[in-house]
Amino acid sequence: MTADDVIESYVRAVAACLPRARRNDVAFELRALLADELAAKAQSEGRAPDRAMAMALLQGFGRPAEAARRYHERPPPIDPADSHHLTVWAVAGVVVIGVLMALDREGGTVDGDLILEWLGLLLIVFVIRAWWRRRNPGVLGWKPSGDPDRASRVGAAVAAVATVIFPLFMYAAPVTFAETMFLGHIATSGLALDETFAASWQRMATLAVLAMQAAMWTWMTISGRWQAWSRRASIAINLLLGVAFLAHSAPFTTLDGASFPVFALPAANTTAWPIFTLVGALCLLSGLYELYREWARIDPAPAMKRGPSRPAGAAR
């Protein structure tokens, strides 16, 4: 391959990366420019141009795609500024799917293809967002958000009441809960607890964590703000509940090796195990999400740490 062949090959590769209407024009000029450059290089080195000299010259121009980009810049399919969010969403999705796959005892409900589908979906969403932003500058712009530590008192009160009713009340006395909720219109005997489970430390521990959750929401109703201890308590409670409910999705074992289920009736356990798995997975993922938020948390300004303050000299 001669030096001219190398140059011609490079020109073709560059032109192939350009819009069709510009290819011949750029190729014609680039061919002439490279010929000038090569002739000057050969003259300075005192020898005839060859393949190695042409390759050395083209090194300075970069890959054909890079050279073509300098002639005709195309917008990237995904806005480079969105790289961080794309990575976070991709990793979060893979973690969620990984947890669900690990808990999928039946197998086949959640498989590895879901990861590729999730990444493909993200790609499509971010490409469409970038395209939409280019077409509509100013749309999908940034909007200020509120104080992340402020908690809605109404929302916290609803969460506290809801936690006491469901799952605390339901977990503590499932038969009474069902009779109360359905006014005795449904058969509740299937919800009777296994005697060993009813007296087990596992049940007491789960009840204690649920009670802590209700207490935490009650405190949030009063204070109206998330604080360091309440954020961390919420993480711990969600992770503990996740582990506890996942443990409920299979028979427990006593210290002497005997196993016991949650409900007295085998059919009730068969029905409840997937539900316990789902609830446990949701609690675990909530805890992991809160843990990530705490890790990624940005320290508030000193004035915000102290709470609302008055301007200097303002009347008290």
Binding site: E29, L33, D36, G60, A67
Partner: protein, 112 residues
């Protein structure tokens, strides 16, 4: 941002490349002759940067070009358009202002 190697010359030059190119195109030049003119004047520019820049300046209406095919090899000659001449005057004035400002900032800073 200035590179950690302490030079920062790439960024410094990038800002004045357009002005340098416009200043050398008050008369017609083809790509390689312009590159040589800039290098001889003390501002070497990579060919991979210079040639596409000429096309962009032409697309922006600052340059006009024509092919000369009377002599071998055929070459594309660029020169300033009327809009390019106006832009050159504006940029030259802005550059001189910047030099005055920077000289004030750098007063007392010794050369290496």
């Amino acid at each position: 941002m200035v590179e950690r190697d302490g030079t920062g010359l790439t960024e410094l030059r990038r800002g004045v490349v357009v002005l340098a190119v416009l200043s050398r195109l008050r008369g017609p030049q083809y790509g390689y002759s312009l590159k040589q003119a800039l290098a001889d004047g003390g501002m070497p520019i990579e060919e991979g940067t210079l040639y596409p820049l000429l096309r962009r300046l032409e697309a922006n209406g600052l340059l006009v070009s024509e092919w000369n095919i009377e002599h071998a090899p055929p070459r594309r000659y660029y020169r300033l358009s009327p809009e390019g001449e106006r832009t050159l005057r504006v940029l030259a004035s802005a550059w001189r202002d910047q030099v005055r400002v920077m000289d004030g900032f750098l007063d007392g800073v010794s050369d290496q």
